[in-house]
Structures are given as structure tokens and as C-alpha cells.
């Protein structure tokens, strides 16, 4: 059973006939670290939302961790996402009105499974969050600060802690480093890979920065597998 398995996928936005995504085969093995390369507008975000179950494919099926995500009900897909997926976006990952620990713990509020996992590793949700934040190299002094006073790099680490809490089986990162300066990018990548390796999660890392390719088991060019892009059709 793979982390992600896509067969004969096609996706058109509602009311349009032209597919923005057409992928015949794509798999991500469990525990695999995959670098998905693609220019902006190549359909990366669309693919991620399909895997996340936020969008439904027009044709074909997507299996995530063995579950037919595209045929589940809306509520079941939301629950599945809460239980098994962790996300890190490019920017603005955090809720400004919550403190760092509450931000990290957020997925556990929507998933009993992840709350239980987190408690098993850390006792309480708060200690689990603290442990993760410390493991990601966030200084203790920063943990008590409001989100707005953190640097972008620090915010991304908090977001990563949130994606990892309760050990979801699949972590999806959508250009998480593009707003971090080069000096801190290296460190972020190391921490990310170390933590993912420790939790055993599969990692789907999307970026257009080829310099990051070297950290991954495998690298896939989205343009190469997306037949909609190959035929010159743009969304």
C-alpha cells in the first residue's frame, strides 16, 4: 500500500472542459521522500488539493494511504485529512490569535487520532508540542512570543511542528522554504528531513527550487507527468 497512488486522473475546474491536470500514474511509497518539481501555474497546488481531498477529481482515482479519497464523502475526506495529513504552506501558516503551542496543537482539535498519538509520545498535547518545537530548534524564548513577532523561518518551523504533531503518515510541503533566506533554508531542510525520518511519514515536497532536489529519495517533474501541461494547455 502506497502513501499516494494516482491512476488516470483528470481534473477540470467547474464549468470548464479543459483539464488542468491529467496524470496517468503517480505513486508515493510509504516513508518515501519525494521532491515534486514544477513551475508556478503547472498545477502543483491543484494536485496537492486533490490529494488533500479538498478538490475532487473529474476522472480517475486517488488513493491516499489506501483510502479512496476521491470517493469519500466531504465530511469523511475532511476527517481523513485531519487524521493522516500534515501541511506546511509557503507563508502565513499560523493563526495570529493563537499562541505557538495552540497553533501546533490545532490538528489535534480536529482529530482524536492525532491527539491520542501526540499524547502517547508527549503525555499532554502541550508537552508534545513543546517537544516538537524544541526538536525543531525553536529557542525557548521564542515559544512564548506571539506569532507576529517571529521571523518567517521561525514561523515555518512552528508550521512544521503542527504538520508533524500526532505523527500523520503523509506530510505535504508546498514551497515551505521559498520565503526563508538561503542561510536558514539548509537548517530548515535538515530539521524537516530528520523529523520526517523519525516519524516515518511519507514526504511530498513541492518546490521550483532545484537546489533542494538533493535532499530527496526521488524527484518528479510535474510537467513530465502532467499530460495536460505537455499538450500545451494551461489553466
Amino acid at each position: 500500500m502506497s502513501a499516494v497512488a494516482i491512476h488516470d486522473l483528470q481534473f477540470c475546474y467547474r464549468g470548464t472542459q479543459q483539464p488542468v491536470l491529467a496524470i496517468q500514474n503517480f505513486t508515493l511509497a510509504r516513508g518515501e521522500k519525494l521532491f515534486l518539481k514544477g513551475a508556478s501555474g503547472s498545477g502543483k497546488s491543484t494536485l496537492l488539493q486533490l490529494i488533500a481531498g479538498v478538490l475532487k477529481p473529474s476522472l480517475g482515482d486517488i488513493e491516499v494511504l489506501g483510502a479512496p479519497i476521491s470517493t469519500l464523502s466531504t465530511g469523511a475526506r475532511d476527517q481523513f485529512r485531519a487524521d493522516h495529513l500534515g501541511f506546511v504552506f509557503q507563508l502565513f501558516n499560523l493563526l495570529g490569535f493563537l499562541n505557538l503551542v495552540d497553533n501546533v496543537v490545532l490538528p489535534c482539535r480536529f482529530s482524536k487520532l492525532r491527539a491520542n498519538n501526540a499524547r502517547m509520545s508527549g503525555g499532554t498535547l502541550e508537552t508534545a508540542a513543546m517537544t516538537l518545537l524544541e526538536a525543531l530548534g525553536l529557542p525557548k524564548s521564542a515559544i512564548t512570543r506571539p506569532v507576529s513577532q517571529l521571523s518567517v523561518g521561525q514561523q515555518q518551523r512552528v508550521a512544521l511542528a503542527r504538520a508533524l504533531i500526532g505523527t500523520p503518515e503523509l506530510v505535504i510541503c508546498d514551497e515551505p522554504t521559498s520565503a526563508i533566506d538561503v542561510a536558514h533554508r539548509e537548517r530548515f531542510m535538515q530539521l524537516l528531513l530528520a523529523q520526517v525520518a523519525q516519524s516515518g511519514a511519507a514526504l511530498l515536497f513541492v518546490s521550483h527550487d532545484p537546489a533542494l532536489e538533493r535532499y530527496f529519495d526521488r524527484s518528479v517533474h510535474l510537467e513530465a507527468i502532467n499530460q495536460a501541461a505537455q499538450s500545451g494547455i494551461k489553466s
Binding site: A82, N93, L94
Partner: protein, 417 residues
Amino acid sequence: MNLLTLAIKSLRNRWFTALLCVFTISASTTLLLGVEHIRASTRASFQSTVSGTDLIVGARTGAVPLLLYTVFHVGEATNNVSWDSYQRYANLPSVSWTIPISLGDSYQGYRVVGTTDAMFLHYRFGAKRTLEFVEGQAFDNTESNAVVGSAVATKLKLSLGAKLAVSHGLGNVGFIKHQHAQQTLVGILAPTGTPIDQSVFVNLAAIEHMHEGFDGSARATAMPNPDESANATPKAITAFFVGLKVRPMALGLQRKINDDPAEPLLAILPTATLQQLWQLVAVAEQSLSLVTIAVVATGLLGMLMAIWATLEQRRREMAILRSVGARGHQIFSLLVLESMTLTLAGLALGAALVTILLTLFAPLLASQYGLFLSANWLSTRTALGLGLIFVASMVLALLPAAAAYNRALADGLSVKL
């Protein structure tokens, strides 16, 4: 931390707009509760201007004019009730007590009511309260003594023992003063919030005595009679209040008095006529309520606008919540909970505010306007008002909640800001 705490934390982050929202709702609430409480209190106090009296009897006129001049001291009687008729009814076995009153004189612009000590024994107002004295006591029926209402005593700075020269007629400055028959002030009444406060009570016989020799008033003229002293029997009175031994007999007696072949009289049931009179001001009452409802609606629309305005800025927040697994209906609930928190806070603050205002200003209203307000504003209608504000606000809250729900589903996880 559940959705409610999330909603509260999110609101706290936008505390200034949230606070403004709460203030708007609390202002509407305060207004609604205050207006309704004052309206109900005014109505209740009006309805019980006179209580415990089964019938008011005067010369034949309209029911409302009779009530107006006997109880509210507004307008004048056009005719009198003969002493004989009064005695005839006063002595009926079914009659428990009567209070004769004779109007038409004034003291410094205040109405003078010629009456007997029955007034202080039997007259009731409010919740069957009797007239109470803050100083002195009632006069007896033999002397030229006077009792004044609280407002008269305060405004004219009267104290016991003062000599009051009653003027004939109702002008502010009477044309003819009964200088020869000054009344000695023997009692000052406690405030009642009724026209009693504005009245001067003198002995009925004394009034009759004063008018000996006068002719030309609406009053039946008593011929001067040197044998008669202050306890002279009057020839006529303006009206009388009747208390019955058995209340249900009021209707029968009323019919009997109205059909009196000897003299054209009118008997009214004060409660019924008070209600009739209140209908005259019901339009004002209703328009006041309408204005209040409009203000409340404005307050709620203000809240709707404030929440709606934040939706655009919060698309990122919704996308984050969706990414960690929040379902569409949870986004919806979050917005509803936010509105609910604001509304409940507004209602609570409004209720607290109205209680404080009532406590602070009740003494002033009682002393200045004779309006007695309790700090307890809770009634079926005010509770209903609070409930309606809550329900209306929850209904309005569905709009931003639905908008947030739709946007969250459409945006998915990909809001770029």
C-alpha cells in the same frame, strides 16, 4: 480548546471591532429594556392612579371627563351632585364607604379638594396603598384644616401650621381669596406618583362655609346661614368615590345610578375608564416601541457589517483551519459562535447597564416626575425582547457564516495573500 474557545480567541484578536459590536448591541439592549420598563411602569402607575374604588359618581357627562376631573384634576365639572343624592347612595346597605369631593378652588395654582377624613381612610392608589403622612395627620371634619400633597409641600415650602388662603376658581392667582377662612396645614402626604401629590385637601364643610354668600360658580350655592358653623352640611358636592362591600355589585349599582330618575348622574368603573383613557396615548406608546425596534435592528445590522467586513481578511484563517481538518460546517459554526458570543456579551452588558441606570436614576425620577421605577426590569415582555434580540442576531449570523462556509470550500487550501 473547542470551536467556542477558538471563536473567542479569534474575537479577542480583533478586540476593538468586537468591543464596538458588543457596545452597539448593549446600547440597543439598554434602550429596549429601559423603554419597555418605563413604558410598563408608566402604564401600571397610570392604571393604578386610583385603585380599590369601585365607582366614581358625578353629574352626567362623559366617562373620560368625569375620570379626568375627579382623579387627574384636569378640566372642570359642569355640574354637581346634590347632597341628597349623595346621601341616598352613601347610605345604601351595599356601600362600604364613600368619599365626597368638592372641586373648584385652588391654592397657589394647586387644586383644592374639599373632602372628609374618609379620603385618608379609604382612598387607595397603586397596589391598594393608602395615603400616608410624612408629617402631621388627617384633619377631622369639624375644623378649618388642610392637608397637602408632597409636591405642593415641597414646591411651596410649606410646613405644618402654615395658613393657607384658598382662592376661589382655578386660576394661578385666584381672583377672590377667601381671606376670612384661612386653612391651617395639619398634614403633609408622602409622595404617591399620582395627582394627589399636586393637591390641597381641605374640609368639605369648610369649603362650603367659605362659599357662603358667593354665587356664580358651578357649585350649587349655599345660602348664607349664620347658624351654620364649619361643619355645615353642604348642599352639593362635585363627585364621590364609592367602595362596595361586595365588588361584583358595582355593575348593578352603576346601572341604578345612571338610571336615577331624581338626578342625571354618571357612575363609572374607574379601572375600565382608566384603560379607555390609556388607549388615547397607546399610539405614542406604540411609536415609541417602533423606534426602539428600529434602533435594535440598526444595532444588529451594525454587528452583521462588522463581521462581514472581516471575512475577506480571514480567508487565510479559514484555509489554515481547513488544512488541519476543519469541516465546512465547523467553519460555519465558528462564525455563528462568534456572533453568539458578541450578542450574549452585548445582551449581558446591556442588562447590566439598564440595571445600573435604573438604580442611579430611580430616586430622581420618583422625586421629579412621580414615576416609580423598580430596578427589577425583568418581565415577560422584556424577557421576550431579550430573546428576540438573540434570535434576530442568530438569524443574521447565518449570513456571514454561510458566506465563510462557501468561500472556505471554494478557496480550499490555496489562498495566496
